[in-house]
């Protein structure tokens, strides 16, 4: 066993950790499909899936069997390579972004100095999934959905970046571990960066195309938007990709504004993972509650809300934060 040097063991452990995190995120995303339907049922006074297994918990298995055995049909008029590429981008872009999330002091895939910028890059690339899906389907509804999605995502990404610059200015680093450590020493950023939190949360919902920002697939108007031509596992990848987006944005909100793996008031530092998971689960519930309770706004309202309300708010937040940081440093 001469090749089993300490460095090799370290590499193997790091790779195993990464695989465990990957599997956990994907399984969480898949399980969410059942959790969401049960919770929607609860909040809307109906049952939801409750037949397969205890409380319908095996509904996921039934859905997966259905999706895997459905005919994987590509329309003859579609642009085949791009039609196949789009769901892959949809699922992988935000999944890859998960590497920068620090889960506990010892768990996390990559400790990048440009962590937040890496997230912005991946969020920027995730637009292509919807655009390519909509264009390659050669379907009017799909194209309209893709146009809406790209305009909406580009508009909301503008102030999504600006909303986080207040956090970055206070910490002085793009590294997410530095941001978590800073929050442990000072306040959690939810208090000093409340405006930043509000705008980033809205932008996060919009970037994952979740209700009330699901304009790209608004059923009433667009029949299903960009993934109308998709079936079987290709559609399943869009579906799981959306839930992975929810898990990711929730984890990012916890990391940036709610102290990451730390408990409130430094409570119980022995269970960092439990704190992280609890807070992330809370935000996932919030995403689902939003879908259960808020009506969908008109498309032009969505766009003007982004440019006329959120962008000025984030600029104001950045200006005030910058002035305070400057004043504190002197």
């Amino acid at each position: 066993m001469s090749w089993l040097t300490p460095e090799v063991v370290e590499v193997i452990i790091a790779v195993l950790k990464a695989i465990v995190i990957l599997l956990a995120v994907v399984i969480c995303g898949a399980l969410l499909s059942w959790v969401e339907r049960r919770l929607l049922g609860l909040w809307q006074d109906r049952y939801g899936p409750n037949r397969v297994g205890p409380f319908g918990a095996f509904q996921l298995g039934a859905d997966m069997i259905k999706m895997f055995f459905k005919e994987d049909w590509t329309p003859p008029f579609a642009d085949k390579p791009i039609f196949t590429l789009a769901p892959v981008v949809a699922m992988s872009a935000l999944l890859i972004a998960f590497v920068v999330i620090p889960i506990t002091p010892t768990w996390g895939v990559a400790d990048l100095n440009i962590g937040l910028l890496f997230f912005f890059a991946m969020a920027g690339l995730s637009v292509y999934a919807v655009m390519f899906a909509g264009w390659s389907s050669a379907n009017k509804y799909a194209l309209l959905g893709a146009l809406r999605a790209s305009a909406q995502t580009v508009s909301y990404e503008v102030f999504m970046g600006l909303a986080l610059m207040g956090v970055v200015a206070q910490v002085g680093s793009f590294n997410l571990r530095d941001i978590v450590d800073y929050q442990a020493q000072h306040l959690w950023f939810i208090i000093p960066q409340f405006l930043g939190f509000c705008t980033f949360f809205i932008a996060g919902v919009a970037v994952t195309h979740r209700h009330p920002f699901d304009q790209p697939e608004a059923e009433q108007e667009l029949a299903d938007g960009y993934h109308i031509e998709y079936a079987g596992m290709k559609w399943g990848m869009f579906f799981v990709g959306e839930y992975i987006g929810i898990v990711f944005i929730s984890a990012l909100l916890v990391t940036l504004f709610f102290g990451g793996w730390h408990g409130p008031f430094g409570l119980l530092p022995q269970i960092p993972f439990v704190w992280f998971a609890l807070k992330t689960a809370f935000f996932i519930m919030l995403f689902i509650l939003l879908r259960a309770s808020v009506p969908r706004p008109r498309y032009d309202q969505v766009m003007s809300f982004s440019w006329k309300v959120c962008l000025p708010l984030t600029l104001l937040n950045l200006l005030v934060t910058g002035a305070l940081v400057l004043a504190a440093s002197q």
Partner: protein
């Protein structure tokens, strides 16, 4: 890391060639996105992760989205592909290709044959710092005037574009 640099540089060159030779506009844009990602990888391997991340965010994430957005709306079909094929006949690209190859040969000659400052013709090298110093030093007024001109153009474009939106 040297291997990573040359690998991503090779990917960038090949994908950029495919941007030019591809007859389907959307596929060509897809290659352009890959080329930009490869250039970002070059920055990463050179130890400039900030520049690499900005390259992805600004070029691949924002500018290319607008490109794809516009091309998507143009209702391109089989006729466009035919037209592109026609334009890509050897008779139309051999002349420029030969001239460009001559320029490439000259560039390689200057890069490898002469002194490594790049001042191959015996003159001094002007680096980006010198350009910046003169732009924001003696020519500051001209830069400000040029920016005013651009602002005027922007206002004019905005004015021309809004004439339909006069409904109450």
């Amino acid at each position: 890391m040297e291997f990573a640099f040359y690998f991503s540089a090779g990917v960038a060159v090949i994908s950029t060639l495919r941007v030019i030779t591809n007859s389907n506009p959307i596929h060509a844009l897809l290659y352009l996105i890959i080329s930009l990602l490869a250039v970002a990888m070059c920055f990463f391997s050179l130890g400039a992760p900030f520049a690499g991340a900005l390259e992805i965010i600004v070029y691949a994430g924002a500018i290319m989205v607008l490109f794809v957005f516009v091309v998507m709306m143009l209702n391109l079909g089989q006729t466009i592909v035919q037209q592109e094929r026609q334009w890509l006949q050897p008779s139309s690209w051999t002349g420029p290709a030969i001239l460009a190859a001559a320029l490439l040969a000259e560039l390689l000659y200057v890069l490898f044959g002469q002194s490594d400052t790049g001042a191959a013709l015996g003159l001094s090298t002007i680096d980006s710092k010198a350009v910046g110093v003169s732009l924001f030093g003696p020519y500051l007024l001209l830069v400000e005037l040029a920016s005013l001109l651009l602002l005027a153009a922007l206002v004019a474009a905005f004015h021309l574009g809004r004439h339909e939106a006069k409904e109450p």
